[in-house]
């Protein structure tokens, strides 16, 4: 119990707001690495996922690549990429590693969002004379948005926790407190910063949960019965975050 109190004392000490290791600075670093990595992953994985979802081709390949990529140990991946890219370009290496970790979830969210749409709706849209682009932009993207955001949510959670490791290769972020405290056995600092990281992850999760809820089209929330398969969770939630829909 005293340990928890010590951790809180460490966390709320005025010293945490000053100096080169001030929490706001490290927090911004942490969010910067998370944000940029998820963004880059989204720029790569969303178009590919939409292509797979729209055409129905390449699905098996995407599933197996995603599955394999999900099994990668984050720490190992980070170290391997740093060694490959070179320690002088550690920030780049770290972002590459985080992007690789984020891609499977985003990819799964993008294609499963489209895949989950009732085929008859898409068939009807095509039969009315929509072009393939119009089907994608006016039907598949809006109806697939909740699952895409679910994928982004999983990716962001995975990256936000993994960015903690960035401190190990000298890149800052909230992990710096942990890596600095371990050799000195400063348990208050270790626990205090761990609490901070957990809270950050919860906040990120909550923000995405909210976005996801807002993204469900009105016509689907308004209905008495939803026939789209989008109402069942599509992509696996590796972080144990069920995709909330109601």
């Amino acid at each position: 119990m005293t340990l928890v109190l010590d951790a809180l004392a460490w966390l709320f000490s005025p010293e945490r707001l000053t100096g080169s290791n001030a929490i706001p600075t490290r927090l911004l670093e942490h969010l910067f690495y998370t944000g940029i990595s998820v963004l880059v992953a989204a720029l790569i994985a969303i178009p590919v996922g939409y292509l797979i979802g729209h055409t129905g081709r390449g699905r098996e390949l995407a599933v197996s690549i995603s599955g394999a990529a999900r099994a990668l140990p984050s720490f190992g991946l980070l170290l391997v990429v740093v060694l490959l890219v070179g320690t002088t370009r550690a920030p780049l290496a770290a972002v590459v590693a985080f992007v690789l970790l984020a891609i499977p979830s985003v990819l799964a969210g993008a294609y499963s969002g489209i895949e989950a749409i009732d085929r008859r709706i898409i068939d009807a849209a095509r039969a009315q004379g929509m072009t393939e682009w119009q089907i994608l932009l006016r039907v598949e993207v809006p109806l697939g948005l909740p699952l895409l955001l679910g994928g982004l949510r999983n990716a962001a959670l995975q990256v936000v926790s993994t960015v903690t490791l960035a401190a190990y290769i000298g890149l800052g972020g909230l992990g710096i407190y942990i890596f600095r405290a371990i050799p000195l056995r400063r348990y208050d600092e270790m626990l205090g910063s761990a609490i901070l990281i957990v809270v950050l992850a919860l906040v990120v999760d909550a923000v995405f949960a909210l976005l996801q809820r807002l993204s469900v089209p009105r016509g689907i929330t308004a209905g008495r019965a939803t026939r789209t398969r989008g109402s069942t969770p599509g992509p696996r939630a590796p972080m144990g975050s069920p995709i909330a829909y109601k």
């Binding site: 709706i121 009315q128 004379g129 016509g219 689907i220 209905g223 008495r224 026939r227």
Partner: protein
């Protein structure tokens, strides 16, 4: 005029859905394709707007092979009512109806204006326009599907079991409404159903299929009822069971003849106006009366 010229369709898995089908569907008439499940009706219908490409033969509209036309333009020029209404769940009813005009570049306000008129036409309250499809009953959704198909004022209307999901009373109501629209708008309608009563109610011309898209008989409802081509057709239309054989009974002192079934039970009175309507004569009357 829609012409099928020895059209065949074999799906990649080897299923032959349609085999060497030839038929002409006259302009401004309702042609009903009827037959048991899996006889290739939907496949034939979807060849007209190129949702399915034939593996043999040609489909021509007014003499032009549809394979030579741009798919998207072709589809926008043909109204298509799908079996399961197929409305866009994230768009309001009114915007669903306005889909094709908006795709064609009509201003949204103008397209909505016309869409509201179409809601009137298919007998839906304008207030329903603001709702989402999931807030309508099945029968209302199917009417929206009909309104959407009419929105761009197409010459051709394809209807695939459009009234499948509604109860018999609403169904009869919709069939009558379709007849009214047909007379009013003069569309070329291709209508698919497996319900022979519905076929006779809606049709100017009926094509009855066996399995594999083989035609068992084609003709007006009266022709088919009076002279079923073979036992299959006879049993399909219910003529063999005597269900369809009605007789007129002229009674002294009454100038309107009575219609009776083969057991002599009176079914109704033959009004002179009914006789005047070609195609939809006593036979169709008998079809619904049983």
């Amino acid at each position: 005029m829609i012409e099928f010229r020895s059209v065949s369709k074999q799906f990649p898995d080897g299923t032959v859905a349609v085999d060497d089908f030839s038929h002409v569907l006259p302009t401004g008439k309702a042609t009903v394709l009827v037959g048991s499940s899996g006889s290739g009706k939907t496949t034939l219908l979807r060849m007209i707007n190129r949702m399915v490409e034939p593996t043999g033969g040609q489909v021509l509209i007014d003499g032009t092979d549809v394979a030579k036309l741009d798919r998207v333009r072709l589809r926008r020029s043909i109204g298509y009512v799908l079996q399961a209404a197929g409305l866009l769940p994230h768009r309001r009813v009114i915007d669903n109806v306005a889909t094709v005009p908006v795709l064609n570049g009509v201003r949204k306000a103008e397209a909505r204006e016309r869409a509201y008129e179409l809601l009137d036409k298919v007998g839906l309250d304008r207030a329903l326009g603001e709702r989402y499809p999931s807030q309508l009953s099945g029968g209302q959704q199917q009417r929206v599907g009909v309104a959407r198909a009419l929105a761009a004022d197409p010459e051709i209307l394809l209807m695939d079991e459009p009234f499948g999901a509604v109860d018999p009373i609403v169904r009869a109501d919709l069939q009558l409404e379709l007849n009214r629209l047909q007379r009013e708008l003069g569309k070329t309608i291709v209508f698919v159903t497996h319900d022979i009563d519905e076929a006779f109610t809606v049709a100017d011309q009926v094509v009855i299929f066996r399995k594999g898209g083989v035609v068992a008989q084609a003709g007006t409802p009266a022709e088919i009822l009076a002279h079923p081509a073979d036992d299959f057709v006879a049993s399909f239309v219910g003529a063999d069971a005597g269900r369809r054989s009605l007789q007129l009974q002229h009674r002294p002192g009454d100038d309107r003849p009575l219609v009776v079934d083969r057991d002599g039970r009176p079914i109704g009175v033959l009004e002179s106006t009914v006789e005047a309507a070609p195609g939809a004569g006593a036979s169709a009357q008998g079809g619904t009366a049983t």
